[in-house]
């Protein structure tokens, strides 16, 4: 199994760079190569992809058993896994882009797996187009890097690239920073982060060009990792089977964007401005997405928002790592060469732990959906007794997500917050800008929100003794009618108008409670579930849950495993970790870290308690009718109206423009052509009148024509040619 190879290779603490082959070549030596590279980050990703992938495939055996089109499902899943493996093994941006797009394709196909459902087809299209916007930015960023760094002569590159000898001595991508391979991979040294590529000297002295390149690459990552403002596709992507949501839209594919940011930081680096923007986008997204999770009525969408939010954390951590590298670069000597230290391992650590608990959350949610046949949280409740394994494993996932020790999320999230704090401190002491503190505050608030929404979900589904799980299980395949699911609980009247998704069930918008019109799939969501009654699934589905729950605990202790430290460059295991391991210099117990850890713990605890206060009895909480929060609730439920905005943009502006252009094309451009045609046919009709049959008049025209010819060739042409030699024209 590929996983095993990955683990073995990774544990050897070396880079493996296989001989690559030329994919497209130009005779001036510019080659577009394809090769494989196992880097530490890549190895970590391999573990994530293949472990989660394997468990999801196992789980699918039962979960998807009664669906049509299983060969297609498994084929697409396998294509996805191989594309993802290719992505993390790529050794240059072109290959990365190739795999990146293939991953996007698989996502498109899998979101649209239930293609008969219009909402699924629409969600698939949306995912592809939104990520495509990011891809275009990404392409441009790569072009900038290529044309600036790819054209370097061997003399100019900054330290990390100096003295590189390229195979063949030509402009080879793999030599000139256009590869993830640090130049000295052949010497079997440990991982070498390099950050010198973005120096202005490499960009013709321009300091904003590398910034721009970084921001454009961020654009690509934002598309794939659903960061603000390209986040809108991910909640809709829950139209795919839950297994797909677990694998692709939580654990692995969306992580590709973070991985892109991390490797870009390692091999090229981000300028300070770009790094701060990354922190800002990440910090803001973490809070922004979390707030939408509080009101979402659909169990999968809550988890989807949490994915966006957690990805925001990771992006923030990469940004913070880049800020630190930019402000206080530190070097370690490797084989006598000073090499820049990087801290992206912190983000990768969160990616690693998040992959397991997020897959766990999705798969448990899948088990619930499978059991009760609905995705609507307000129809669930009291499942704890009937689904003990599911409820406990999901609790583990929820605790890990909230960041409660000893679950993995605590260590990684705490580490990440600590890194951001460090970056913020550096920025404010060195540049006097408190901006990063603001983003840090947003992220800290998001800790509270995270705990709040995930425990709202857990309490609503499992707590209490209601047996709402007996909801009328929607039949397979056919989209369930937009049943007024809120009817049993309807009390409020502020019926918000139906959203752009044309879901016009007259559902009353029940603040913080009801399933409302904004999420179309909540009504038809029971597509891939179906055993009414609600009980734990069989071992095929349970084993993955238990394994993932174990991993959700164990992943936090990853840095303790001897020999894997190099997989997570720059990770200093804070607070508890330090106490336990006391590993290395500079990791002594630190008051700031302790305070930060306590603060985030306190926020998480507060979140859980708040959730308990509102939903602890498993009942649906309703805002009073006159509550001022109603407006806020409506905004959240409508996802800050971003869908409406983009839909409006697409249908009215872009499509409108297209229709207008079509009109111009038909009536102005083609109309002109038809006009000319008309002119000629009229002219020929009048020309017919010249055919008088009178020889002398013909002769007159002949003379006129000849004269015109002579004037043209004897005067006009020589004038045009401007004194140049006029060739002897035959016949004249």
């Amino acid at each position: 199994m590929g996983l095993w190879i990955a683990v073995t290779e990774a544990s050897a603490s070396q880079l493996y760079h296989d001989a690559s082959f030329v994919w497209l070549g130009l005779p001036d030596g510019t080659n577009f190569v394809m090769g494989t590279l196992v880097s530490p980050l890549g190895a970590l990703m391999l573990v994530v992809v293949n472990v989660v992938g394997f468990l999801v495939v196992l789980y699918s055996n039962e979960y998807m058993a009664h669906e049509e089109g299983l060969p297609r499902y498994y084929a697409e899943l396998m294509l996805f896994l191989s594309a993802m493996n290719g992505l993390v093994l790529a050794d240059n941006y072109l290959e990365f882009i190739l795999m990146w797009e293939l991953v996007g394709l698989c996502s498109y196909l899998l979101i649209g797996f239930f293609w008969k459902k219009p909402s699924a087809a629409s969600a698939a299209k949306k995912a592809f187009i939104v990520t495509r916007v990011g891809d275009v930015l990404f392409f441009l960023g790569v072009f900038i890097l290529f044309s600036s760094l790819g054209d370097l002569s061997s003399a100019t590159p900054a330290t990390a690239y100096a003295g590189t000898t390229c195979p063949g001595g030509v402009l080879h991508w793999s030599c000139l920073g256009f590869t993830f391979t640090p130049p000295n991979t052949n010497s079997s040294v440990p991982f070498l982060p390099a950050n010198a590529a973005i120096e202005a000297s490499n960009f013709g002295g321009s300091s904003w060009l590398p910034t721009l390149a970084g921001l454009l690459i961020l654009g690509g990552a934002a598309g794939k990792s659903a960061q603000f403002p390209l986040h809108t596709w991910l909640p809709d992507a829950m139209e795919g089977p839950t297994t797909v949501s677990a694998l692709i839209h939580a654990a692995t594919m969306v992580a590709a964007g973070i991985y892109l940011l991390a490797i870009t930081d390692i091999y090229f680096g981000f300028t300070l401005t770009a790094a701060i923007v990354i922190v800002g986008i990440g910090g803001f997204t973490s809070l922004f997405a979390g707030t939408m999770g509080i009101v979402a009525p659909d169990i999968k969408r809550v988890i989807a928002y949490s994915t966006i939010s957690q990805l925001g954390y990771m992006a923030m951590a990469v940004g913070a790592a880049a800020v630190i590298s930019d402000l206080t670069p530190t070097y370690s000597l490797v084989n006598g060469t000073p090499v820049l230290n990087t801290f992206t391992g912190v983000a990768m650590f969160h990616l690693f732990s998040h992959a397991f608990f997020k897959a766990l959350l999705f798969l448990t949610a899948g088990a619930v959906i499978h059991a009760v046949g609905t995705q609507d949280l307000f129809q669930m409740g009291g499942l704890r007794k009937r689904m003990p394994i599911t409820s406990i494993t999901m609790l583990v996932g929820a605790l890990a997500l909230s960041g409660i020790p000893p679950f993995s999320g605590f260590f990684s999230k705490d580490d990440l917050l600590s890194l951001t704090w460090q970056a913020a401190t550096l920025e404010s002491t060195q540049n006097g800008s408190p901006l990063l503190y603001v983003f840090f505050a947003l992220a800290l608030m998001a800790v509270f929100i995270t705990a709040l929404y995930i425990f709202r979900l857990w309490f609503l589904a499992f707590s209490g003794d209601r047996s709402r799980g007996e909801a009328p299980a929607a039949s397979h395949g056919a989209p369930a009618p937009a049943a007024p699911t809120s009817a049993p609980f309807a009390s409020s009247t502020s019926s918000s108008s139906s959203s752009s998704h044309a879901h016009d069930a007259p559902a009353a918008a029940l603040p913080l409670a009801s399933s409302t019109s904004s999420s179309a799939p909540s009504a038809s969501g029971a597509h891939d579930g179906g055993h009414a009654g609600g009980h734990d699934p069989s071992w095929i589905m349970t084993v993955p849950l238990v394994v993932l729950a174990t991993l959700a605990v164990a992943a936090g202790f990853l840095p303790l495993i001897p020999g894997v430290g190099h997989l997570l460059p720059g990770l200093s295991w804070t607070v508890l970790g330090k106490c336990v391991t006391n590993c290395g210099a500079g990791s002594s117990f630190d008051l700031t870290d302790a305070l930060l850890g306590s603060a985030s713990l306190a926020f998480a605890g507060l979140g859980i308690l708040t959730a308990y206060a509102f939903w602890g009895n498993g009942k649906v909480y309703r805002l009073p009718k006159d509550s001022p929060l109603l407006g806020v609730h409506s905004v959240l439920l409508h996802k800050y109206y971003f869908d409406e905005l983009y839909d409006g943009l697409a249908t009215h502006v872009i499509l409108g423009l297209a229709r207008g252009a079509d009109w111009v094309d038909r009536y102005i451009i083609d109309g002109t052509i038809r006009g000319i045609e008309e002119l000629f046919s009229q002219a020929s009709k009048s020309g017919r009148r010249l055919q008088t049959g009178i020889v002398s008049s013909y002769a007159a025209w002949v003379v006129v024509g000849l004269l015109a010819f002579l004037v043209f060739f004897l005067y006009v042409v020589p004038w045009l040619v401007g004194g140049f030699h006029l060739p002897p024209t035959p016949g004249l």
Partner: protein, 518 residues
């Protein structure tokens, strides 16, 4: 062995033989197109990716191979006179397009295996079109080039006019008049180039490298001639605003006609710009580069936006062709090695992909009686094979990696970035629109609950599947291993570019070509 003459003979004689074969026409057509393909493959085997331009032989100095020179007739006149030659030869720019012609033709023949209406005429005309295209691609003499160029027009006129849809007569006439006006303009410009440039022969190999010398045509004349050629070839390409014949012609043309039209005929325009206009009139090219770039941008954006607004599947594909050929024009206008390579590669890719998409459109019309996108839906449920082909074609056309367009588009945009900087954002953003219209089309046609599908709708027939599968296989093959076709291009691309760098911005003038060596 006169390979190219053999190739021309097989395709031309084969086409005429097919006219006479009556009900065995399809077998004759298959045999002829197979023989053509085999000959092309044999030529590819013999082809040297990099050639010593200082080698023996007159034509090798132009970087061509497989040259054959026979004087057709000469005209002696005081002060010079001229000769007209049968001069053929190929290089890395023409070879991929010749291969493309052979492939697309055989796919079209197989696809139309069950053609009922006058099959001998239908197949014969298709083969004649192919022969004409191959003739254009191998000619190295202006007159020979023009003869083949005109040969292409006539069979296509009849294909549209006799086998086409309800408005076929209008469309055929529009196609013919439009492209003929363009040909005449082109012909006059070519003649003017030959006579004013004092060539004394019509072969343009001999002219490579000479045109940069000071005593060549004056800049204004060059610009005028280049402008005329740009119009002549641009109509064929087609570029905005001379594109409106294309949607009409496609909508009315029979499927095979559309396939050849999009697959090969559009490439003639690009090839003409690459082979004749740009290298032979370097100063004119440089003066008009802004115009070319503007028209390229216009075609890219206009084509993409208009695709979004279309309801007829064929019109969607037709406008997307305008978009893609706009990228080709952009890559040519850059006139860098990477640009030329990208242009050739993109023409090759677009030939395969648009041929596939037009086959799908044809089958859709055949199966459902309509190509109107909003009135049909959920094809996947009833006609899964057709739906799959539609999907592969769309994804290939929007530039998905591992399919043939991706390396081509990537090279083109990289070349554009190197040459133009941030302007590349404009065509890049059009990529989003391209993705949007294809995916929107897929969403409406392929997915969702079945809608508007007649009871007795059947999936693709075996010949249709075979024709499409050939294209799909190559789309995937050349997408994963693009160097299989790409490796022949760069040397010729570099040679063309280096030999025709105008005096305005490149130091390579005068004898740069003659001392050119690999």
């Amino acid at each position: 062995m006169p390979w190219l003459s053999a190739l021309l003979a097989i395709s031309l004689v084969g086409a005429f033989v097919t006219f006479l074969t009556g009900r065995y026409a399809r077998w004759a057509a298959l045999g002829v197109s197979l023989a053509t393909l085999v000959t092309v493959l044999a030529i590819m085997m013999e082809f040297q990716p990099s050639v010593n331009v200082n080698g023996p032989g007159y034509c090798q100095q132009g970087g061509f191979q497989f040259c054959e020179l026979h004087t057709w007739f000469t005209y002696a006149a005081p002060g010079g006179g001229f000769s007209v030659d049968y001069l053929v030869g190929i290089d890395g720019i023409s070879l991929p397009l010749i291969l493309l012609s052979a492939i697309v033709t055989i796919a079209a023949v197989v696809y139309h295996w069950e053609e009922k209406k006058d099959p001998h005429g239908f197949f014969g005309l298709m083969l004649l079109t192919n022969a004409g295209c191959i003739g254009v691609f191998v000619s190295l003499d202006v007159l020979l080039f023009f003869v083949f160029w005109e040969i292409v027009l006539i069979p296509m006129f009849f294909l549209i006019g006799h086998w086409g849809g309800p408005r076929r007569h209008y469309a055929a006439l529009k196609f013919f008049v439009y492209t003929h006006v363009a040909s005449v303009t082109m012909f006059v410009a070519l003649l003017a180039m030959v006579f004013l440039g004092d060539w004394h022969s019509f072969d343009f190999v001999n002219t490579f490298g000479r045109q940069s010398q000071d005593a060549y045509l004056n800049p204004i004349v060059q610009a005028l001639l280049f402008g005329s050629l740009l119009f002549g070839f641009g109509v064929k390409l087609p570029m905005v605003p001379f594109h409106t014949w294309l949607p009409d012609a496609h909508v009315e043309a029979p499927t095979g006609g559309s396939v050849l039209l999009a697959g090969i005929l559009l490439k003639l325009g690009g090839y003409g710009l690459l082979r004749l206009a740009s290298p032979l009139l370097p100063t004119g090219r440089e003066l008009l580069t802004p115009v070319m770039l503007f028209l390229a941008f216009a075609s890219i954006v206009w084509g993409a936006y208009l695709s979004l607004a279309q309801r007829d599947l064929k019109r969607v594909v037709a406008y997307s062709s305008i978009n893609h050929m706009g990228i080709v024009l952009l890559a040519i206008a850059l006139w860098t090695q990477l640009g030329v390579m990208a242009a050739v590669l993109l023409m090759f890719a677009h030939g395969l992909v648009s041929a596939l998409l037009f086959m799908v459109s044809g089958s859709m019309h055949h199966t459902f009686g309509t190509r109107d996108i909003p009135s049909v839906g959920g094809l996947t449920a009833r006609t899964p094979v057709l739906s799959t082909m539609l999907m592969i074609g769309s994804l290939a056309s929007l530039g998905l990696p591992a399919l043939v367009s991706f390396p081509a588009e990537f090279s083109a945009f990289l070349a554009a970035w190197n040459g133009l900087g941030y302007w590349v954002l404009l065509p890049l953003m059009a990529l989003v629109v391209t993705a949007a219209f294809y995916l929107w089309m897929l969403q409406r046609l392929a997915f969702g609950p079945p809608k508007g599908i007649p009871e007795k709708a059947h999936d693709l027939s075996f010949p249709e599947v075979m024709g499409m599968s050939l294209l799909v296989g190559l789309i995937v093959l050349y997408g994963i291993l693009p160097f299989l076709i790409e490796q022949v291009i760069p040397v010729s691309a570099l040679f063309s570019v280096a030999c025709s760098a105008g005096p305005l911005h490149n130091g390579l003038i005068g004898g740069a070509c003659t001392s050119f060596q690999w």
